[in-house]
Symmetry: C2
C-alpha cells in the first residue's frame, strides 16, 4: 500500500483561495469575485475557468442583468462531488454519503462491536458505502475523500489508532491504506469526539473561536476548538477528560472515599455501577438511557450527580481554555437534561466570574448524525480550504 | 486618543511574504528567493526594492560570484528598526529596546508596586525607554512597536486589563492609548505569562507545536501554545491555573482538609504561609526564595510539596492539552529545582502513558529577561509575519 501513488488534489491552492468566496452558497459575478479576492479580473477569469472545468463551479443566469447581456453569475456546486463519512463507535456504525457542503445525501447504520477488529468493521463500512453509492446512482470516481471517526486516540497525521483501550486489534492498524485499496482518495481518520466538535462548530457555532465539545456515553472525551481550529495536541490525545482525576469530596457516598478517574464516575457504565449499587438492573450506557427515559428518579438523580462530577473537570477546562461555548453531547446527554444541569450547577458555582460571564453551556444539536457531519467537515476543510 | 490616526504598517503583506524567507538571517540571492517563494523574478525584484527602500533588507556582496559580476546577495537587517519591550510584574519592572530579531540591545529595571496605578507605572516605563533610546543614539522614529506584559488578565484585542486582582486602578485602563501619546506606533498588551510562553517558544522550542509554560511566583498562571499558536481563549483568561481547585487528598496536614485554589497552596505567598505555620519568618515569594537559596530544608521541602500540588493540576493539563513540552518558570522555579521535581513526580506518576511517553518537563531557560523577549516576539509576529 505504501507504494501507492498519492491521488491528485481536487483543487490547486489558487483555485481554493477563489472558491472560498463562493462557499457560502451565494451566486456572484466575476466583478464581485475580483473585489472580494483582491485579484485582477484576468486572474479571476483564469481560476474560474479551471473551477468550471472541474464542475465545482457553474455559470448561472439567475441574476438580474444590469444592462443587456446576462451578468453571468457563477455559483459553487456542492453536489459535483461526494464524500464518504464513516462514524464508528464502540457498539454502532454509521456510514453516509454527503455533498461538498456536508449535507447528508443518504446513510446506513448498524449495531457492531468495534472489538471485532479493523478488517471486519471497515469491510462493513465499505460495503455500506457501495450500497449507498449505487442507491444514489453516482460513479465511484465522484467520491473524492473518506473521513472516519473512531472511538479512541488516533495519530491524525498517519490515521492510525494508538493504544486505543476499547479497540483490540486496531493498535497501529493502517486505516487509510486499507480504505485506499477500495477508494484511492484522501482518507482522514480522527477521534470521534474531535469530529463531533468540528461538526457542531461548522453547523451551529461557526463564528465562535473557542468551543469545548464534551461527549458522555460509554466513555468521556472532549474535542477542543481554540483560536478557531481543532486542537489535537502533540500525540492526538488532547481532550482526554475521561482520565482526569476527580477529588473525592464531590462524591456521593456510593462511590467511596478515594479519588477516581472521571470516566469511572460519570460515563454510562460508571452511572450504571452507581445504580447497580442501589439494586437496579443496570450494566451499560444503554441501560442507563432506558431507565432515564422511563423517568426513573434514581436514574435521573444519578445522571445529575454524574453531571456534577463532570462539572468539576469542566470547571478546570474553563480555567485552562476559557471557551465561550461548552457543548455536551453523547447518549447520556441526549437521554436526560439532568446531565447538563449538573455541569451548569458546578461550573457556574465555582469558576471565576470573568471566565463564566460570557460562557454558554448547552446540549449538542447534532443528534445521531453529528459524527458523520463532523467527518465530512474535516474532509471539506482538507479538500477545499486554502492551506 | 480614540481619534488618533492609526500608524502606517511597517510592511505590506506582500513584502512580509517575501521577507519571511530572509528572517532566518541567511543572505540569499534573488534567484534563491524566487525559488523559495514561488514568485516570478520580476515580482521578487519589485518587492525587494520596497524592502530595500525601508532599510529592512540590504544588498551585500559577501557571496562568491558565480561568473563575473557580484551575485548581489540580500540580507535582512534586524537592526534597521527597534522595538520597545516592557515587562511589568507585581513588584518589578523591566524595559528593553530590542532589534527586529528580538535581541535585547539595552535594558533598565526597577522595583515598583503595580498597585501604584497605570499612570505612575507606565510613566516610569516611558522615561526608562527615553533614557535607553538616548543611550543607543537612535531617533524616536526608529521605534516601530511597543509590547507590554502585565501581571493579570488582559483583553488582547483592546490592550485593556480586565478585572486584574492585584492591579487596583488598572481595570479597563486604555494602555495602548496612553503609550501612543508618546510613541504613535502599534502597542500590544498581553498577560505576562503569555509573553513568557511566546518568548520561550520562539527562542528555545520553535519546532514544537504544543507547549505549556507555567509561571510560579506571586501568582500562578500558564501560557498555552497549541497548534503552534498562542491560545488566549474567548476573554483572554486561558491558562488561569491559579484558580483551579486542588483536591485536599494531596495536601500536607498543614493545609487542612478542604479543597483549595492552586494559588493558595503553591504560589510564593502560599508556600510562605506553610513555612510561617512551621514558625519560620516568611511572608512573600522573596522570603521563600531567600530561604531556599540558603538551603533551608523546611523551605525546599515546602517547595517540593508545592511542586506536587502544581503537578496535580499540570497532570490535568496534560490530559486536556497533550503538550510535548512543559516549561516551568518564575522566581520559585528559578530558586529551587524541587519545584520541577515535584511536578515531575506527580505528572509521570498519574498521567496516561500515551500522553507522557513523549512529554518533557523542564525549567525555563529564559531567565529574568524572558518577559521582554516575549514582548518583542509578540511584536515581531505582529509586524513582520505574513497575516
Amino acid at each position: 500500500m505504501a507504494s501507492m501513488a498519492r491521488p491528485e488534489p481536487l483543487l490547486t491552492p489558487e483555485a481554493a483561495r477563489l472558491l472560498v468566496h463562493l462557499r457560502d452558497g451565494s451566486a456572484r459575478t466575476r466583478s464581485e469575485l475580483a473585489e472580494l479576492s483582491g485579484l485582477a479580473r484576468s486572474t479571476v477569469a483564469a481560476r474560474l475557468d479551471s473551477l468550471i472545468e472541474t464542475g465545482l463551479v457553474a455559470v448561472s443566469t439567475n441574476g438580474v442583468s444590469s444592462g443587456g447581456r446576462p451578468p453571468g453569475f457563477v455559483a459553487f456546486q456542492p453536489a459535483a462531488r461526494i464524500l464518504l463519512a464513516i462514524d464508528l463507535g464502540a457498539t454502532h456504525g454509521l456510514v453516509a454519503l454527503t455533498d461538498l457542503s456536508g449535507t447528508v445525501l443518504d446513510l446506513e447504520s448498524t449495531s457492531l462491536d468495534i472489538a471485532d477488529g479493523p478488517e471486519t468493521v471497515l469491510r462493513w463500512a465499505l460495503d455500506a458505502a457501495e450500497l449507498l453509492r449505487e442507491r444514489l446512482g453516482r460513479p465511484a470516481s465522484d467520491i473524492v475523500g473518506v473521513g472516519i471517526g473512531l472511538p479512541g486516540p488516533v495519530e491524525h497525521s498517519t490515521g492510525m489508532p494508538t493504544n486505543p483501550p476499547i479497540m483490540p486489534g486496531w493498535d497501529r492498524f493502517d486505516v487509510p491504506a486499507y480504505i485506499r485499496a477500495t477508494f484511492d482518495v484522501p482518507v482522514l481518520v480522527d477521534n470521534d469526539v474531535n469530529l463531533l466538535a468540528l461538526g457542531e462548530h461548522a453547523t451551529v457555532w461557526r463564528a465562535i473561536d473557542d468551543l469545548l465539545f464534551v461527549k458522555v456515553a460509554t466513555g468521556i472525551g472532549a474535542g477542543i476548538i481554540s483560536g478557531g481550529k481543532l486542537q489535537r495536541g502533540a500525540q492526538g490525545t488532547a481532550g482526554d477528560l475521561g482520565h482526569v482525576r476527580v477529588p473525592f469530596t464531590s462524591r456521593t457516598p456510593a462511590h467511596g472515599d478515594v479519588d477516581a478517574d472521571l470516566e469511572e464516575l460519570a460515563s454510562g457504565p460508571g452511572i450504571a455501577r452507581a445504580l447497580s449499587a442501589q439494586g437496579l438492573q443496570a450494566a451499560s450506557s444503554a441501560d442507563v438511557v432506558e431507565l432515564a427515559k422511563r423517568g426513573d428518579t434514581r436514574a435521573t438523580d444519578a445522571i445529575r450527580q454524574a453531571g456534577r462530577d463532570l462539572g468539576e473537570v469542566v470547571a478546570t477546562c474553563v480555567n485552562i481554555l476559557n471557551p465561550s461555548i461548552i457543548v455536551i453531547g453523547g447518549s447520556i446527554a441526549r437521554a436526560d437534561e439532568n446531565l447538563v444541569a449538573g455541569v451548569r450547577e458546578v461550573v457556574y458555582g465555582q469558576s471565576t466570574p470573568l471566565a463564566t460571564r460570557h460562557l454558554t453551556i448547552t446540549e449538542s444539536r447534532a443528534g445521531e448524525t453529528g459524527g458523520v457531519v463532523g467527518a465530512a467537515t474535516m474532509l471539506i476543510q482538507h479538500l477545499l480550504d486554502p492551506s
